[in-house]
């Protein structure tokens, strides 16, 4: 083979090798690390998988926040005004977490149907509503 052509072939082979490795890595990692969003209605109707990391969100129900006296354990309900679910969390809640505020939680749904959150997110602008929540609210409104 012509030496220049041989070199080109080698370069293309290296690029192909790196690309396939990277794509393999990406696909594998994406499979493991995407978190689907479920609305309170989805979860109440049993559409969400148990014991898999998912996201859930809605408005925090007034008067539903219960705290433990000794630890940082806290429990509250979120709603999309059709159904509500209970979320439990141990840790510090974000500044904008309050009753009536839209929040998104990431965690797992346990066998009792309680959502055990590992992370609770409330956005830093009170006018701003995460698109997941506004869509979930719209979907719930449009149902009869």
């Amino acid at each position: 083979m012509h030496p220049i052509r041989k070199k080109r072939l080698l370069i293309i082979a290296i690029i192909a090798l790196i690309l396939t490795t990277a794509i393999g890595l990406i696909l594998f990692a994406l499979q493991q690390n995407i978190n689907l969003f479920y609305s309170p209605s989805d979860i109440s109707l049993g559409k969400a998988p148990k014991n898999a990391t998912i996201r859930a969100g809605g408005m925090v129900v007034e008067g539903s926040i219960k705290r433990n006296q000794e630890s940082l354990y806290v429990q509250f309900d979120v709603t999309d005004f059709q159904h509500k679910i209970t979320i439990e969390y141990k840790g510090i809640l974000p500044d904008l977490f309050r009753e009536g505020q839209g929040i998104v939680a990431q965690g797992k749904l346990n066998s009792q149907g309680v959502f055990a959150a590992e992370q609770v997110l409330a956005k830093h602008d009170e006018k701003y509503m995460p698109p997941e929540i506004s869509d979930a609210l719209k979907a719930a409104e449009s149902q009869p």
């Binding site: 070199k7 994406l30 995407i34 510090i92 602008d125 701003y128 995460p130 698109p131």
Partner: protein
Amino acid sequence: MLPEIGQFTLILALFFASSLSILPLVGYWKKSLILTATARPLTLIVACLVFISFLTLSASFLLDDFSVLYVSQNSNSQLPIYYKFSALWGGHEGSLLLWALVLSAWSSAVALRLKQLPQEIGAIVLAVLGAVSTGFLAFLIFTSSPFVRLLPDSPIDGGDLNPVLQDFGLIVHPPILYMGYVGFSVAFAFAIAALITGQMNSAWARWARPWTAVSWAFLTLGITLGSWWAYYELGWGGWWFWDPVENASFMPWLAGTALLHSLAVTEKRGVFKSWTVLLAIFTFSLSLLGAFLVRSGVLTSVHSFAADPTRGMFILALLVIFVGGSLLLYALRATQVRSSIAFGITGREAWLLLNNILLTVLTLTVLLGTLYPLLFDALGLGKISVGAPYFNSVFTPIALLLIVFMGIGPLSKWKNTSWNALWRPCLLALVLSALLSSALVYFNSFSLMAWVSLSVAFWVLFLSLLDWLNKISLGREGLLVRACKLPRNYYAMILAHVGVVVSLVGVLLVSVNSHEVMVRLSPSESSLVAGYEFRFDSMEEVKGPNYVSERGQFTVFKDEKQVAELYPEKRFFTTRQQVMTEAALDAGFTRDLYVSLGEKLEDSSWGVRIYVKSFVRWIWLGGLFMVAGGLLAALDKRYRRRVEVA
């Protein structure tokens, strides 16, 4: 009156910018020197007009003119004066005006250094920058004017600036980041000029290089500042969240880094010409994509402004026009370019090619992770988020591989390198770095990942050192003389590469050796974290200019000795009725102590977040090294030569 002047000058600027994007090109086409000569004055006029517009908006902020809607939404009479000024870019409209201002500043910088370029190329570069300005000014005027008035019912006081933004970070982070983002439009303009004139030779690479290096340095500094700001302001103690908007700034950085390296090859050896042009287009496109992601609110992020679909569509249209147009031009013209110079598999060209491949792959992994939720949603598969674990598991191995090659590349020579010149230092560095990192891992009981990363870091350091020693030991002069005679570019490269290593060490040690606890503490109770005793002494109430604050006092002891006093705050901003956490930290070269308050619980106890983070400062220190490297590279003497033929 002032806001009307601002609006009027902005419209005038749009008019002049659109003439700027047409006249010089017509001049080039018709071979009319008069028309091409309009580029420079038009650029300067646009810059002056945008600057006047910017000044009027600043004046409205400083004079508390709440009849201006944007001012009333983002400022308040009680706001400290420096935040009144920086509140200008605290919202969507003003930050776009800042963007336009920065763009016109870059354009005038090019216009003022025009003598270095052949006239026709300079004119086309300015025309392309004018076209970009036209797009952004039209966006500003038609969808997001900051000068809209609330008359006659203007409010008595403003709604105040978002408390998260009332910080030093807002004053410096956006302008510097924009300097970087927007600076890549200069490299883009050079690339388009090269395509239009068909002169894709090493000359265009030499002109584009210093501009690219300076923008890259600004972008690096902007990202570093952003990371540092997020770390102390958001109260979670993280320095990088793989948030879509962070990714939006990181993608142009990765592509820009690739561009810097491929420009070097194009300038020195005249190869990779069309690839370099393509990279310049990609880097600019990724900057625009970043603007789209931030402005349109399509992705959930800490940076999202309230979403407005028309704005998103407008930016998307701009993106399609610029990216589509330039790729079309590329498809038409790039085929004419043939690189005829061959290079060996061990030559520096090959190592830089590898650098470019890996950086491009890294950019793609970030791009895919960022846009995947959008794709998923568009296909109707549901709403998802791609978590940090995706980025960590994909990005880390490829980045480490890149850094391994970053050690070898500088040893190589153009065209071909003898294997002997490569394998000897490599073997020595391999043995030394493996031994050293094994020792460190043994004494600290770190993980395998830590061992690998530390070895890679030492590997680069040893190889750089060996290469430097090798370079200065040749020749008859003294070592010091030879060390001073090495080109500035060489030291710039070493500085930037060492910066990467310093950041790598910081990232690694933070991730393997950080301690975080969330506890419930009452006054006089204490908590022991990583050998440090954090004692919660007391709480007191403090009044700020536009907030009231509950301030805690913590004393930190190590081995019975007091090491720091920390005052974390919980501020309540009266106008917005919003609570903000102000973390307190004691910064150190090898460790940071970090306390932030959670909520007040019933029995006067507080939820408290305590961190001890090792070497976290190194992440940003490395960033500063890279910035210094980028600036030093741009200052190289050979970029100041003028063209002899006018």
